[in-house]
């Protein structure tokens, strides 16, 4: 490996490895997307290009009530989850930041728990919780929302806190110095400065919610609470048509679009400085 000895040489081997890895990871996805546009019923043999599995009159995403219901439910869950987890997570992060007393460190560590707990463990735990402890809530949409908020909240808290730490207290002090009462220090200074982190964590919450399978599956009740990922899982072994690829494509596009949008907004706010940090966080 010449680049080890010659620092000016191009790292050809590393470059090759990178290209191979990208091909390896992108190819299956690309093939899956490709077959969403297949003109036949097969998911393995190419029979010409068409949009029929998206818009066609039989069994397409737009006409199969099961597919459509799953897509709607997925988006609904994601929207509610973002709407709840983001403000909650921001408040928690702010609270933790101010909480300088004893126990702050412990709470901090506890906040990371949902990030490292295996999802299946959390799914089972939540299932038991709703069946035994809060049977009043029961399984279904509410339980799914609570479950998703539970684990996405940690991402919001961690990301917002990281930004809070890097912002420091100085801007708030400057605001106070110029006469801003605490409420204005928060709304006129701190929140605008946190905006990139808030937007990024909202986007990631959205993506996590759409992608989630385990927790959402455990807490679902009937067909009306089926999400895209659950549908993909259950029918992949049945008699799948390219409609499945089509809906997966739609879900993927929505996720990518959200992240791309968040990335752009973030870069505008943060002046491009730590935009790469979000790119790296992409799940």
């Amino acid at each position: 490996m010449s680049w080890l000895r010659n620092p000016w040489g191009r790292p050809r081997v590393l470059g090759l490895m990178t290209v191979l890895y990208i091909l390896w990871s992108v190819t299956p996805v690309a093939i899956a997307i490709l077959f969403a546009f297949n003109n036949g019923r097969s998911r393995t043999t190419w029979q010409g290009f068409s949009f029929k599995w998206f818009t066609g009159s039989v069994g397409s995403v737009f006409h199969d009530p099961a597919l459509q219901g799953a897509l709607k439910h997925t988006l609904l869950l994601a929207a509610i989850c973002v709407a709840l987890a983001t403000p909650l997570g921001v408040s928690l992060a702010l609270g933790l930041q101010r909480w300088r007393g004893r126990g702050g460190g412990t709470v901090n560590t506890l906040m990371l728990f949902p990030l490292v707990t295996p999802e299946i463990v959390m799914g089972v735990a939540l299932l038991l919780l709703f069946l035994r402890v809060f049977p009043g809530i029961g399984l279904g949409t509410e339980a799914q929302v609570i479950g998703q908020v539970t684990f996405t909240l940690s991402y919001v808290v961690v990301m917002v806190r990281a930004r809070l730490v890097s912002i420091g207290r100085e801007y708030e002090e400057a605001a106070a110095d110029l006469g801003a009462p605490p409420r204005d220090q928060l709304f006129r200074v701190l929140l605008p400065l946190l905006a990139p982190a808030i937007i990024a964590s909202a986007a990631i919450t959205f993506a996590l919610s759409i992608d989630d399978f385990v927790v959402t599956q455990y807490l679902s009740s009937d067909a009306s609470t089926t999400t895209v990922s659950m549908l993909l899982y259950s029918s992949a072994r049945g008699a799948p048509t390219p409609a499945l690829n089509a809906i997966a494509t739609v879900a993927l596009l929505i996720t990518l679009a959200t992240l791309a949008l968040a990335f752009l907004v973030y870069r505008r706010f943060a002046g491009g400085r730590d935009a790469t940090a979000v790119a790296a966080l992409e799940v």
Partner: protein
């Protein structure tokens, strides 16, 4: 006129650390007051207490006779220029400057006018729409200044506002800042650890050490009449000689160093016994070897450093101590050489020789906890 600040027994402890240890100072309205001291002596902490960011452990902060120690920062008519400026990155220059005007009852029109005026005052007219990140260090510093001044504070606090700038710009801004302060007549409380900056800009300087004010006075006073070795040393190079004070002659102190006798007019002239005498490098005269007269000390040149406007000459004198001598560069060649090893005679004029009271607590006095100060009988 408003803007008098008085600190009484002001103390701040962070756990076991005593950051500020009972400060008593008074700043009359319109004064340019500087707190000068080494790193960690409590300058920033004192300033932050005046601003309202830290709550004093004890003591009072009187702003025009009102104790504000418990008043939160946003209700004090005091503004701060932060060392790192702390300009809001999400606002442009005009937004930054207008930030505090929102809390004054002003129309949009009046606000705009005031922003415009203050930006003219700091020579930044036309920069309204720039973001803080698009400004140079000196420009950012001016915006920070404008943002504070537009609120017409009674007192302006500045924590090493020039610390982040290069030497040249720093000197320009020192002059500008001083002129500005004189024009608007606002009380400035200025923090720096640069002695030259403190001396050139201030009406009064407080030299701080370990959370206390060691000496406060006009720049001339603290420079020419330092009361302790610490102050003498911190304000520029000072030469210390270990001498014996043996008597008095026409209210001058008679000092003995080896077989030489010196007269000193300055400082604690009635002190006796082993003590230190101080002299500034620029007050020492260099004469050819063997020059006759009192207050003269033979020595040997160790090296001569050319500094452009002056020479700094290191002379090893009788008794083994090294004295630094500053000689202005007058263009014409010196009448005698200053090569290493040249024997010379140093003249220490009586009116420049200062007898110092020994420090109450010697630096790093770790001689088995022997804290008893040298006897001054």
């Amino acid at each position: 006129m408003q803007g008098e600040v008085r600190l009484e027994e002001l103390t701040k402890k962070f756990g076991d650390v005593v950051a500020v240890d009972g400060i008593d100072v008074q700043m009359p309205p319109g004064e340019f007051f500087t707190m000068l001291g080494p790193s960690g002596c409590g300058k920033t902490t004192t300033l932050r207490m005046i601003a309202g960011f830290e709550r004093p452990t004890a003591g009072r902060i009187l702003l025009d006779e009102t104790d504000v120690a418990q008043v939160p920062a946003h209700r004090r008519n005091v503004n701060t220029v932060f060392q790192s400026y702390a300009l809001f990155p999400h606002l442009d220059v005009a937004g930054n400057v207008a930030f505090g005007l929102k809390y004054r009852r002003l129309t949009k029109q009046e606000q705009r006018l005031q922003v415009k005026e203050v930006l003219e005052l700091v020579q930044l007219a036309g920069f309204e729409r720039r973001k803080a990140s698009q400004l140079s260090g000196g420009q950012q510093q001016r915006v920070a200044l404008a943002r504070a001044l537009v609120l017409a504070p009674r007192v302006l606090l500045l924590d090493e506002p020039l610390g982040a700038l290069d030497a040249r710009l720093r000197r320009d801004l020192q002059v500008e800042l001083k002129a500005l302060q004189r024009d608007i007549g606002v009380t400035f409380v200025f923090v720096t650890h640069d002695q030259e900056e403190a001396l050139t800009m201030s009406d009064r300087v407080a030299v701080m050490r370990d959370g206390r004010v060691e000496q406060a006075g006009s720049p001339r006073e603290v420079y020419e009449e330092p009361r302790t070795m610490f102050v003498a040393d911190f304000l520029g190079v000072s030469n210390l000689l270990e001498v014996d004070a043996v008597g008095e002659e026409h209210s001058r102190c008679v000092l003995r160093l080896g077989d030489r006798t010196f007269l000193a007019e300055q400082g604690e002239t009635d002190a006796r016994g082993k003590l230190k005498a101080m002299i500034r490098p620029e007050r020492i005269g260099v004469e050819p070897h063997g020059a006759p007269g009192d207050n003269r000390l033979p020595g040997m040149v160790e090296r001569a450093v050319f500094l452009g406007g002056s020479y700094e000459i290191h002379v090893r004198v009788l008794g083994g101590e090294m004295l630094k001598v500053a000689m202005t560069n007058e263009g014409n060649p010196l009448t005698f050489g200053l090569e290493q090893g040249t024997p010379v005679t140093l003249y220490l004029p009586p009116d420049a020789l200062r007898v110092l009271r020994p420090d109450p607590e010697p630096d790093a006095g770790d001689e088995e906890g022997q804290t008893a100060p040298a006897a001054v009988a």
